[in-house]
């Protein structure tokens, strides 16, 4: 029966997502708002398809945030993180500090004691990493000035959660009921110095392990050539780090983010991205649905004016502080507005911290109850606020001049993707590199990848026929895809994937045989390269030269032959379709060969350089021409 209950829940959540998200996207509302509306619809105040367990789902789905930070870490080279240190510490630190103090003042003015007020201020200073990053990414704004600043602030907030967890119990008034909680942690009974050492050891373990242990481990797993095994390993990595982090009292999101950064230069980066991405997407969707379902509309309905007033006050205060800080950090008006609108809501950590604070007797439930609803509402309003900004505010401010700057800052992806780096792909890659054109290379032989990386090549491990891996390699923004692997079926598979998801990509495909070339032409590839054609022609040219044909003439003959052969290939590819199916394969091959040979004889008669043949001129002169 338990299983049935699980399937029922899964059915409800998935159905809600599948129905509401496409509608929301069609209406231009974005996926986050779609998920939130789905949550409200199935929640206790909507169709009542889910009830109390919504809170459990929320806790489970928070893991989606952890995965998201892992993926963000994967895209962040350590050097870029270092470049962002000023916005992270400066802008992020000031945002948390100033917002917390301002909100504390508001809370005290509304009648809370100072310590409860400070707790509320600190908790509400945080913004929603999940909603902000998902929304910015969907709108393609993550790489703008505002996007980078918002990301920096969110990163600082994630770090700030750790000291907050330490400080909140100190704000308790009266007796504390807290000693029983947090029993899972390893470091509870330790003296402060030992605690610090354990935490440091955990961080060092992630950095060193990520750097030196994951590669051989992944290589070992990749050799098994089972795709699901690699997915399992990727999930294991993320879950293990999350567990380790919570055991030593750090934020799991922060730990996986760190692991992501450590692995950002690894050849397994794109494969990891491809594996984790769908889980992250589903869990984040689940998380947004759970947020929608957890909004206590009963409370909202009983005191609508108070709740509305608090939501407005929260959004306005945070917006105001962000606007001032953005200006102080030199952001243009349009970028500053985007930045401020994006981060004005409360965050998912508030749910955790409010329950933590009430457990420790810092805040009474009479305060946290309405505030949880306020945070959830402010989160639910964010996509709407962003929409208002996009439609009504931004068009009046003028163009976003920051958008074009540093387009590749986060991903560092290339315009060219080369799938397969063997005999064919490596020559292409070297030619391009020698001419200053960088390419993202995918190869699914882990030993090969290891070797190439030792020689400083930018090669990533992965199977290029996977849509998610192509996506991770930057197919969305690349211009050219070179398919240079040697497996004919795989090549066709990649072509199909590329045509379906990336119609803008120019595809250059390797054909391993004449039949394969026909299949590629049928599949709609225009640029088909038979792998042995050029070598054979070059050998033919050298034979002609050995037979006494002059070099230039031999070269021209071979190029003429090649052009006609390409034309013939295309004609035969089209003809092949009409042939009755009963003709046996052997006969077919024979006929094709005959056709090829006939075509060759015809083209040999053609004179493309008649002007160098003075026969007609001599005849005219002999006929008494006046010239």
């Amino acid at each position: 029966m338990h299983g049935e209950g699980f399937f029922y829940q899964a059915f409800v959540y998935l159905l809600a997502a599948v129905v509401s998200v496409p509608i929301a996207k069609r209406l231009g509302l974005g996926s986050v708002l779609g998920y939130l509306l789905a949550g409200i619809a199935i929640g206790p105040w909507g169709l009542r398809l889910v009830g109390e367990e919504g809170a459990d789902v929320l806790h489970f789905a928070e893991f989606g945030v952890v995965m998201m930070l892992f993926l963000i870490g994967l895209e962040l080279q350590p050097s870029l993180l270092w470049r962002l240190r000023v916005p992270i510490v400066g802008l992020g630190g000031l945002q948390v500090g100033v917002t917390a103090l301002t909100l504390t003042a508001v809370a005290v003015a509304l009648g809370l004691p100072w310590n409860a007020g400070l707790a509320v201020g600190l908790i509400l200073a945080l913004s929603s990493t999940a909603i902000v990053l998902q929304t910015l990414e969907e709108k393609g704004l993550l790489k703008t000035d505002a996007g980078q600043s918002a990301f920096s602030v969110l990163l600082f907030q994630d770090i700030a959660v750790i000291p907050m967890l330490a400080v909140l119990p100190l704000l308790a008034v009266g007796e504390t009921r807290a000693t029983a909680s947090g029993g899972t942690s390893w470091i509870d009974g330790l003296p402060p110095v030992a605690k610090t050492l354990v935490v440091l050891a955990a961080v060092v373990a992630i950095v060193v392990g990520g750097r030196y242990l994951t590669r051989p481990a992944f290589r070992f797993i990749a050799r098994a050539r089972l795709r699901e095994l690699f997915t399992a390993a990727a999930l294991l990595l993320v879950i293990a780090i999350a567990l380790l982090m919570s055991r030593v009292g750090l934020s799991p999101a922060l730990g996986t983010f760190l692991a992501g950064v450590v692995l950002a230069n690894s050849e397994y980066r794109h494969e990891l991205e491809g594996d984790i991405e769908p889980f992250k997407g589903l869990l984040l969707g689940l998380f947004f649905i759970a947020v929608g379902a957890s909004v206590d509309f009963g409370l909202v309905a009983s005191r609508p004016a108070v709740v509305a007033g608090l939501v407005a006050a929260l959004l306005a205060t945070k917006f105001g502080v962000l606007l001032v800080l953005g200006r102080a950090f030199g952001m243009g008006t349009d970028q500053n507005l985007l930045f401020s609108f994006a981060l004005a809501q409360g965050g998912e950590f508030a749910f955790v911290l409010f329950s933590f604070a009430s457990q420790h007797g810092v805040l009474p439930v009479s305060v946290t109850g309405p505030l949880v609803a306020v945070v959830a509402l402010s989160m639910a309003l964010t996509p709407l606020v962003m929409l208002v900004h996009e439609r009504l505010v931004a068009p009046r401010i003028g163009r976003r001049e920051g958008e074009a700057r540093e387009p590749d800052a986060i991903t560092g992806s290339s315009q060219v993707i080369i799938a397969g780096y063997g005999r064919v792909g490596s020559v292409i890659g070297r030619l391009l590199a020698a001419n200053g054109i960088s390419a993202t290379v995918l190869d699914h032989d882990s030993d090969h990848v290891e070797l190439l990386r030792r020689f400083g090549q930018r090669v990533f491990y992965g199977d290029a026929s996977r849509h998610d891996l192509l996506e991770a390699a930057g197919a969305g923004s690349a211009r050219v895809l070179v398919i240079a692997i040697d497996d004919p079926d795989k090549i066709l598979q990649i072509v199909e994937t590329a045509h379906r998801y990336y119609p803008h990509l120019q595809v250059l495909a390797r054909a391993v045989s004449r039949t394969h070339a026909y299949e590629l032409l049928d599949a709609g590839v225009e640029l088909v390269y038979r792998e042995n054609l050029d070598t054979s022609l070059q050998m033919g040219v050298d034979v002609m030269r050995a037979m006494g044909v002059r070099a230039y003439e031999a070269g021209r003959r071979s190029r003429l032959f090649r052009r006609h052969d390409e034309l013939g290939l295309r004609e035969l590819a089209a003809m092949r379709e009409d042939r009755p199916a009963y003709i046996r394969r052997a006969r077919q091959q024979l006929e094709e060969l005959e056709r090829i040979l006939t075509a060759d004889r015809l083209e040999a008669d053609e004179q493309r350089d008649a002007a160098w043949d003075t026969r007609t001129l001599r005849e005219e002169m002999a006929g008494g021409a006046e010239r």
């Binding site: 070269g555 021209r556 190029r559 003429l560 493309r608 350089d609 008649a610 002007a611 160098w612 003075t614 007609t616 001129l617 005219e620 021409a625």
Partner: protein
């Protein structure tokens, strides 16, 4: 309307500011087709039937190229050798180009003063272009003085823009029949007094 065909030859267009500006100025003009030989035939294997059809379809043929060694880049010579066939372009039956107009549009590093008897290059541009003029004559074409951009190494962006604008005006004038060939031959180069050439 006379359709204008620009036969363009520059082996390293990416390094030529002036030719790039001229080509860009010409590219958008209605009734003007730019045919880039180095782009079409990187291996010099010129498609003769295609080139002949192209010439037949146009009334004005502009040969645009840098004035490399007092002449044109190699592919333009290959083009002449192969496309201007006996029996098609010249000879008894060769009348395909008869009556069409032709001129060179060239860019030269040397200043106008250097192309004089007493100058560094000793010959005038018109004298150095004699092989092109003779070729045009043999094919029965109407020969026009060249469009010349002198001193390309010293030109600033504004001057290049001005030349590109002149080129565009000349092409439009040729297309619309605003140029009197006999009158235009009074000038050593068409852009010496473009307004006069365009019948202004």
């Amino acid at each position: 309307m006379r359709k204008v065909l620009i036969i363009f030859a520059h082996p390293a267009l990416e390094r030529s500011r002036v030719n790039r500006a001229l080509i860009e100025a010409a590219a958008g003009v209605e009734g003007v087709r730019v045919h880039d030989l180095y782009q079409a035939y990187p291996d010099f294997d010129i498609d003769v039937p295609f080139e002949q059809r192209l010439l037949e379809a146009h009334g004005v043929v502009v040969l645009q190229h840098p004035f490399f060694w007092y002449s044109a880049p190699a592919i333009l010579k290959q083009w002449q050798d192969l496309v201007l066939e006996h029996g098609w372009a010249y000879g008894h039956a060769g009348t395909a180009l008869k009556g069409k107009w032709t001129l060179n549009a060239i860019t030269a590093g040397g200043g106008e003063d250097s192309y004089r008897r007493e100058g560094g290059n000793r010959f005038e541009i018109g004298e150095l272009l004699a092989p092109f003029e003779a070729t045009a004559r043999l094919c029965g074409m109407i020969w026009l003085p060249p469009f010349v951009v002198h001193g390309t190494h010293r030109l600033g962006d504004a001057e290049i823009d001005a030349h590109a604008g002149d080129y565009r005006r000349l092409l439009i004038g040729l297309r619309d029949g605003a140029v009197d060939a006999a009158a235009a031959r009074r000038w050593p180069r068409l852009n010496m007094d473009l307004a006069a050439v365009l019948g202004g």
